[in-house]
């Protein structure tokens, strides 16, 4: 009936021409989730009872989507991938959900994710690991694991994820999809559970750049309910997508992308991508960012400090899980948190409280905040020389489930290229950039200065259309 890997753009056209009704579209994807979800465990719950109107004419009329289970949908469970919120029903809608509904899109489920968005592989969910549709023995990437794996498997045309340090782009890259980390403050976080508040952003995960720009257009605009959103009117990110690079475009290759520590197959795909950008007319030069290498350490310290503080609210008193075998109030806190949180979350809370402790705060937290500004200055001076930067999204191929488990440092080193821009809140987009010889997806990314989303989409679209990697889909999901 429908090609499950249809783009949002094509599906919109079919619905507009009345070739298929909205009800049929929703039914088709709900059926696909029933049939294929077991392979990837990407959806925690699908909404078989969803109601939809057949007369919407919004930007995303009739397009189904799923939300990472850390984004609230009124009346539905919002578990954050955690046991501690396994019974928590969101009492209100997040603004991003409201905006998608207003555009006519229809939510059909909750996507699996690393617990409280803490993870880079999709393995740390209380509801089981998400598997990569391209090879189910491998991770999907995380923390927006289910958002990416469900789109890649053709269970839904698009999804929203959240990113604190790579969590949208990392799974997008591992699953041959497009993922955006927008400028800090571009998308509302009202109704989105907090991990590290000075980094967290909501980002669309889609098959194509056009689809991504379409969803970002629907999400755009300041939100009075989130005072960290940028004061600006809604934007149209699709109008400039013409398949051409801007004239005289200067692209900087992040020097570390050419060095050791990057998988040779990833490096090879990246070099071909750079060649392609040259062919499309860009001037390319190598840019050294001397403070880039500290990005991960800065991210580690600040995100865990913020995470420990944000997660202190989960103690069994007001909502969520409560351990009833307690002697007194503090005992209830201890037992509820012990029972409700998984190991990755616990280790991050402990690290966060340690770096905030009297005696360590100056050496870790305050120092990290100062180095954060050095990284910002580094990128600022790079953007005086070039318009955008480029690198592989992740330095490695999707790894086997369990391969890097409980090595808190190894997994994050893969994120050397997609954490530093989150540290300074500047945007980046990951697009399909080729395949390894085992047929595993490789992503490449473009990073721009603050509020350069229009430019990033334009470049990413030209690259995507000239390479066509997005046309390939995983097997066994027909």
């Amino acid at each position: 009936m429908l090609n499950p890997f249809i783009t949002v753009k094509e599906l919109r056209e079919k619905i507009a021409k009345k070739e298929i009704s909205i009800k049929e579209v929703i039914g088709f994807y709900l059926e696909r989730i029933k049939k294929h979800n077991e392979k990837t465990n990407s959806i925690i719950e699908s909404f078989q009872d969803v109601s939809c109107q057949d007369d919407s004419n919004g930007l995303l009329a009739g397009i189904p989507y799923v939300l990472k289970d850390i984004i609230c949908q009124k009346g539905r469970i919002a578990s954050a991938g955690s046991k501690i919120l396994s019974n928590y029903k969101a009492p209100y809608d997040s603004t991003v959900h409201t905006r998608l509904k207003k555009a006519g899109a229809v939510s059909i489920g909750r996507a699996n994710c690393d617990e409280f968005a803490m993870g880079a592989s999709g393995e740390y969910s209380a509801y089981g690991p998400t598997r990569n549709p391209w090879d189910t023995s491998r991770v999907s990437g995380g923390s927006s694991s289910g958002s990416a794996a469900s789109v890649a498997a053709g269970l839904v045309p698009f999804a929203l994820g959240t990113e604190t340090g790579g969590s949208v782009r990392n799974p997008a890259s591992f699953c041959n999809l497009v993922g955006l980390y927008p400028t800090y403050g571009l998308h509302s976080r009202f109704g989105v559970m907090a991990f590290a508040s000075s980094f967290d952003q909501v980002g669309p995960i889609t098959r194509t750049v056009y689809d991504n720009a379409l969803v970002a257009t629907a999400l755009s605009g300041n939100d009075p309910k989130d005072s960290t959103t940028i004061q600006m009117a809604p934007k149209d990110y699709i109008k400039n997508l013409d398949g051409k690079l801007p004239a005289n475009l200067k692209i900087g290759i992040i020097k570390d992308a050419l060095g050791q520590g990057v998988d040779p197959q990833v490096q090879n795909a990246f070099q071909q991508a750079v060649e392609q950008l040259r062919k499309l007319g860009a001037t390319v030069k190598v840019i050294d960012l001397p403070y880039l290498k500290y990005g991960n350490a800065v991210y580690f310290i600040i995100s865990r400090a913020e995470g420990a503080s944000n997660l202190s609210r989960f103690d069994g008193s007001l909502y969520g899980l409560r351990n009833k075998e307690n002697q007194n109030l503090f005992d209830m806190y201890l037992k509820t948190r012990q029972e409700g949180f998984g190991q990755e979350v616990k280790t991050r809370i402990l690290t966060g409280n340690y770096v905030l402790c009297a005696g360590h705060k100056d050496a870790y937290y305050k120092k990290a905040q100062a180095v954060r500004e050095m990284i910002r200055a580094d990128f600022d001076s790079a953007f005086k020389e070039v318009d955008v930067l480029t690198s592989p999204t992740i330095s490695m191929l999707p790894f086997k489930i369990g391969e890097l488990a409980f090595d808190p440092v190894a997994m994050y080193l893969a994120d050397i290229f997609n954490v530093p821009n989150c540290v300074i809140g500047t945007p980046a987009i990951s697009v399909p950039g080729g395949f390894s010889k085992e047929n595993l997806p490789i992503g490449i990314q473009f990073l721009g200065p603050r509020l350069s989303e229009e430019l990033l989409y334009k470049i990413a679209y030209a690259f995507e259309q000239s390479t066509g990697y997005y046309l390939k889909h995983p097997n066994n999901y027909e």
Partner: protein, 99 residues
């Protein structure tokens, strides 16, 4: 090598309100040592400037009451009486606060 000990971990665990198992105590002591070794590298950075490129501004809105359904929020609580959240005893007759 970081010198983060089991005793350090137990102190932090108490501050974090986490009642860890023996197995977790060993695992997390090991993990935190690794993490602290890794982040140690920022100590070598000579900070040259502190000025932030982003100017934060205060965002104000009208202080107006909007209707909220408190019943729905209260219904989420593990234990309640009318519009109160019920929690275990906070004060101990002999020792004062239990926290």
């Amino acid at each position: 090598m970081s010198d983060f000990t089991k005793e350090d971990l137990l102190k932090i665990a108490k501050l974090s309100a986490l009642n860890l198992s023996e197995k977790e105590i060993d695992l997390f002591t090991q993990q935190l040592n690794k993490v602290l070794d890794f982040v140690e590298q920022i100590k070598e950075v000579k900070v040259l400037q502190q000025a932030s490129a982003i100017k934060n501004i205060n965002i104000f809105r009208q202080d107006e009451v909007v209707p909220t359904d408190s019943k729905e929020v209260l219904n989420l609580s593990p234990d309640r009486q009318e519009s109160y959240f019920v929690v275990p005893k906070i004060l101990d007759e002999n020792k004062g606060s239990t926290c």
